[in-house]
């Protein structure tokens, strides 16, 4: 960066060379609007010659006229003065204009009060503020994400309640004309009662509660209870259609809400074109959380910032080293990575196979009529959940061990391990559902009489709902168990025992990524399961509310802030991306089962339809002619193809625009750098010319002036002209 024009800075004593720079208009506009008479006259640049800031204030005023007064970076008195000036300049506003101004002002005030009220109603505001003060914005992002999911689940519950459950509840209390769903195929409509007829032991109630069988099976909880087809009152309410549309709408609503929330983070990721994410500037200038109020937390924040900076600098050194690798080293590394990836895939396949086997075993055992001991029965019911949880506990350890051999940079290591864990978690649900699907659609003989295995699963949707219900309950139990039986004892042991091993184990750190994966996993199950178990969003809402309080208590009492902090911004975006992946994964089984699998013939609203989707075409045929032809046109190929083509064109246009903007930014950046160099070059030339002049005139007059004062008289234009002559 050092070249000829820069010599003016590094060779001369600083005060002299920079006096010229002090007088530049661009420097003047940076001067603070303080009273110049009280400014310090100590070391550094002398201010005696700087042109009074008052003069430059007028210049900047003209550009700021359009901004509201509160957006000016001035003190209150200056802002007041500015407001008075504007009012005077604006002249008197008469009658109509004055009334409009007042209305505008009072509307703004009402809007601000409304926003105030809304933000005061925000859930858990004080709790989150407390966490923010103690642990910073990284961990805060987890809790605000949890709050978002609570709201989402509550809205989903409201949707299902209003459109599906409320009509059914109303019909049981009032007398309406109801058409029950029925079918002609008698073979498939055998639904043996699973509730216990005789006196039951208490532990069977517990088993039923925990697995959704028995007395819970034919309740509002599961799909099988809603076997109404039409409700006739002032109009005909088509329950199957409402059920299906409610399902589709909750999936779409979740998609829209998540995308809207992630849009701001995504926009930022799009604009920045450096792949280093401007990490150093971001960490230094935006590094300190000004919301931290706790002395302890401040100390920890400092140490975590230090750690972060050291690791980043080290990572940069590692990257430089990696770039200088020889070819043989590179081949070796790639071969090693390929082998390790194969190993990872083998581990994943093994886990998936275990889940499949466990599910098949559990299903077989459930169908058998004999009753076994309470605990054994419970274990059999929960076997798939147990295997999934075990697999999700062991595989992250394996992944974090393997990645150390793959020789990536530290930041990439973290991200890649996380991606693998995400894949493992979400794919295990997929494997479970696949094994269920296999069980449901394959019968002993070649052809399934009713389209599904009606002997073992007379009402297969309720059964799937039960499996999802079990997963949710088990997930919640695991969270509580881990908190109570691992985190609290750990804190007690660490604070009372001083053994070396214990001190190495250390206090619990709140690992944000793992916790986020946990709740995304729960949310994915909820999205899949709501179609089969309409009350699941309500259960999930209650579960997440409890999880919030459990995690908060555990955080405050047991945890210390992570030494490797999770950046708030990138984490916000990461959570929403993982949630979107979960949503995409959840919509696949729901879509497949709605469109492909024969709906059960004995329970639920879709009995008289072949697949659940059939209710839509049948509903369309009953619409008036104009609307029907419109909807049919929307679904035709012509419309789809032209829509696709137009979307592609729009996308190409936007991509081209973005590319053009990027090029312009690059050009402007280069131009700016060049202007800076021109400026310094000219200043140096000017300085040299004036030095020469003074040297000559001092010689001529026989006086030895102090070089330092020579710079003081440089401003006069006449002197400049003289030197140019």
């Amino acid at each position: 960066m050092m070249d000829e024009p820069d010599a003016v800075f590094w060779d001369r004593p600083a005060p002299v060379g920079n006096l010229l720079l002090d007088q530049l208009p661009s420097y003047q506009s940076l001067l603070y609007r303080r009273k110049s008479s009280t400014r310090r006259r100590g070391s550094g640049r002398s201010r005696q010659l700087s042109i009074r800031s008052g003069k430059w204030e007028e210049q900047t005023h003209s550009g700021e006229e359009l901004r509201p007064v509160r957006e000016l970076p001035k003190s209150m008195q200056d802002k007041r003065r500015e407001k008075q000036q504007r009012l005077q300049q604006g002249g008197t506003v008469t009658g109509w204009g004055l009334w409009r101004l007042n209305v505008h002002r009072s509307l703004k005030r009402v809007k601000e009060d409304g926003v105030d009220l809304l933000s005061a109603l925000q859930l858990w505001r004080t709790d989150i503020h407390l966490i923010e003060g103690m642990f910073g914005t990284g961990i805060l992002s987890y809790f605000s994400f949890l709050r978002f999911l609570v709201l989402l689940n509550f809205i989903m519950f409201l949707l299902m309640f209003v459109f599906v459950m409320l009509p059914v509840i109303l019909t049981s209390h009032t007398s309406h004309n109801i058409t029950y769903s029925s079918t002609n195929v008698s073979e498939c409509s055998v639904y043996p009662p699973t509730s216990h007829q005789s006196l039951v032991a208490f532990h069977e109630h517990i088993t039923d509660l925990l697995s959704g069988t028995g007395f819970l099976e034919r309740t509002y909880l599961f799909y099988g209870y809603y076997n109404l087809e039409f409700i006739h009152s002032h109009f005909t309410y088509n329950l199957p259609l409402a059920y299906l549309l409610a399902t589709i709408s909750y999936l779409l609503l979740s998609l829209v809400w998540i995308v809207k929330r992630s849009a701001s983070g995504f926009k930022r990721k799009l604009i920045q074109d450096e792949d280093r994410f401007q990490s150093f500037c971001n960490k230094i200038f935006a590094g300190w959380d000004f919301c931290i109020t706790n002395e302890n937390a401040a100390r920890l924040k400092r140490s975590s910032l230090l750690y972060e900076m050291k690791t980043d600098l080290e990572e940069e050194r590692i990257k430089r080293r990696m770039a200088n690798r020889t070819r043989s080293e590179r081949c070796r590394i790639y071969a090693l990575r390929a082998a390790l990836n194969l190993f990872v895939m083998a581990v994943l396949v093994t886990c998936f196979y275990c889940i499949y086997v466990a599910t098949v075993f559990s299903q077989r055992k459930q169908v058998e009529a004999e009753k076994s001991a309470f605990l054994q029965e419970l274990v059999v019911e929960y076997l798939p959940s147990i295997v999934i949880t075990l697999a999700n506990f062991i595989t992250p350890l394996i992944f974090s061990l393997i990645i150390t051999f793959e020789d990536y940079s530290p930041a990439f290591e973290i991200r890649f391990t996380l991606m693998r864990c995400v894949f493992m978690r979400l794919a295990s649900i997929g494997v479970l559902l696949f094994s269920l699907w296999v069980q449901i659609t394959f019968c002993e003989s070649q052809e399934c009489l009713c389209g599904y295995n009606h002997k073992t699963y007379p009402c297969w949707e309720t059964h799937v709902g039960q499996e999802m219900y079990k997963l949710v309950i088990f997930d919640f139990l695991i969270i509580v168990a881990v908190t109570v039986f691992v985190e609290f004892p750990r804190k007690i042991i660490v604070s009372h025992c001083d053994h070396g091993l214990v001190r190495w184990w250390g206090q619990q750190e709140f690992a944000v990524p793992q916790n986020v994966l946990e709740i995304v996993y729960g949310q994915t199950i909820c999205w899949i399961g709501t179609f089969y178990c309409p009350l699941l969003p309500a259960i999930n809402t209650v579960k997440y509310v409890l999880v919030f309080y459990i995690k908060k208590v555990s955080l405050v009492t047991n945890c210390r802030p992570a030494t490797r902090p999770f950046r708030a911004s990138s984490s916000h975006f990461f959570f929403l991306v993982v949630l979107l992946i979960g949503l995409a994964l959840a919509s696949v089984p729901v879509t497949v089962s709605i469109a492909e699998i024969q709906a059960s013939r004995v329970c639920g609203p879709f009995v008289s339809y072949s697949t659940s989707w059939q209710v839509v075409p049948r509903g369309i045929t009953q619409l008036p002619l104009g609307l029907r032809s419109f909807l049919l046109a929307l679904a035709s190929e012509a419309f789809a193809v032209s829509f696709f083509v137009i979307t592609c064109l729009g996308m190409f246009y936007v991509i081209a625009l973005a590319g053009a903007h990027k090029r312009v930014i690059e050009q402007l950046r280069d131009q700016l750098a060049m202007e800076g160099r021109d400026k310094r070059f000219l200043i140096q030339k000017l300085y040299q010319a004036q030095q020469a002049t003074y040297g000559r005139s001092a010689d001529a007059k026989g006086l030895r002036r102090n070089r330092a004062h020579a710079g003081l008289c440089l401003v006069e234009p006449s002197v400049v002209l003289e030197t140019q002559a």
Binding site: Y32, Q272, F290, K310, L313
Partner: protein
């Protein structure tokens, strides 16, 4: 302003609402906290609160930039960092949720400019990094690491390559920094 009066007059309240980013609730809360700080003090500056008292606020107590914040927002002629109530409101307004990015970056620049010369040169940046990591010797970066860090920062933010970061370069860097708005926040 504020003196010994226990209630804030209505026109003043609406004027403050207009001139700052604070809501009515926040202004009233600020007034309450400021009056508590004043206590019975009625020193030679009248309604100003000295810097030592301001620094006892829990929101500022653990902040490494607390003294700079007081100096930047103080309109006192003596430059001793004492704040009047209006200075205090200006402070809260700049640090509030609804303040614009421009305001925040402007004040952040002034806070980080330790020698008040209008640019962030290497000395300012070094002081800034040391503030962030800690004051004691074992919490600082080594000289080598500091040099590497300063090089990286200047490389990322110094567009005209003059070795310092001026206000517009700083604002440009901040506009692309996603963490800034959420971390440059103080709420009473």
């Amino acid at each position: 302003m504020g003196g010994t009066a226990s209630k804030l007059p209505k026109e003043l309240l609406s004027e403050y609402q207009e001139l700052t980013f604070l809501t009515k609730q926040e202004i009233l809360l600020a007034h309450k906290r400021f009056s508590e700080l004043q206590g019975r003090e009625n020193g030679p500056y009248g309604s100003r609160v000295s810097m030592e008292k301001i620094l006892t606020l829990p929101e500022l107590k653990s902040n490494p930039f607390r003294k700079r914040i007081c100096y930047v927002f103080s309109t006192c002629d003596l430059g001793d960092g004492s704040l009047s109530f209006e200075d205090f409101l200006d402070l809260l307004s700049a640090f509030s949720d609804s303040a614009t990015l421009e305001i925040k970056s402007h004040y952040a620049f002034r806070i980080f400019d330790f020698d008040d010369d209008g640019t962030l040169d290497a000395r300012d940046l070094e002081k800034l990094v040391n503030c962030l990591t800690g004051e004691t010797d074992d919490t600082r970066l080594t000289a080598e690491e500091m040099r590497q860090l300063l090089n990286n920062i200047l490389e990322e933010s110094d567009i005209d390559k003059d070795g310092t970061v001026n206000l517009s370069e700083f604002q440009h860097v901040i506009s692309r920094s996603p963490d800034f708005v959420s971390s440059f926040k103080i709420v009473l």
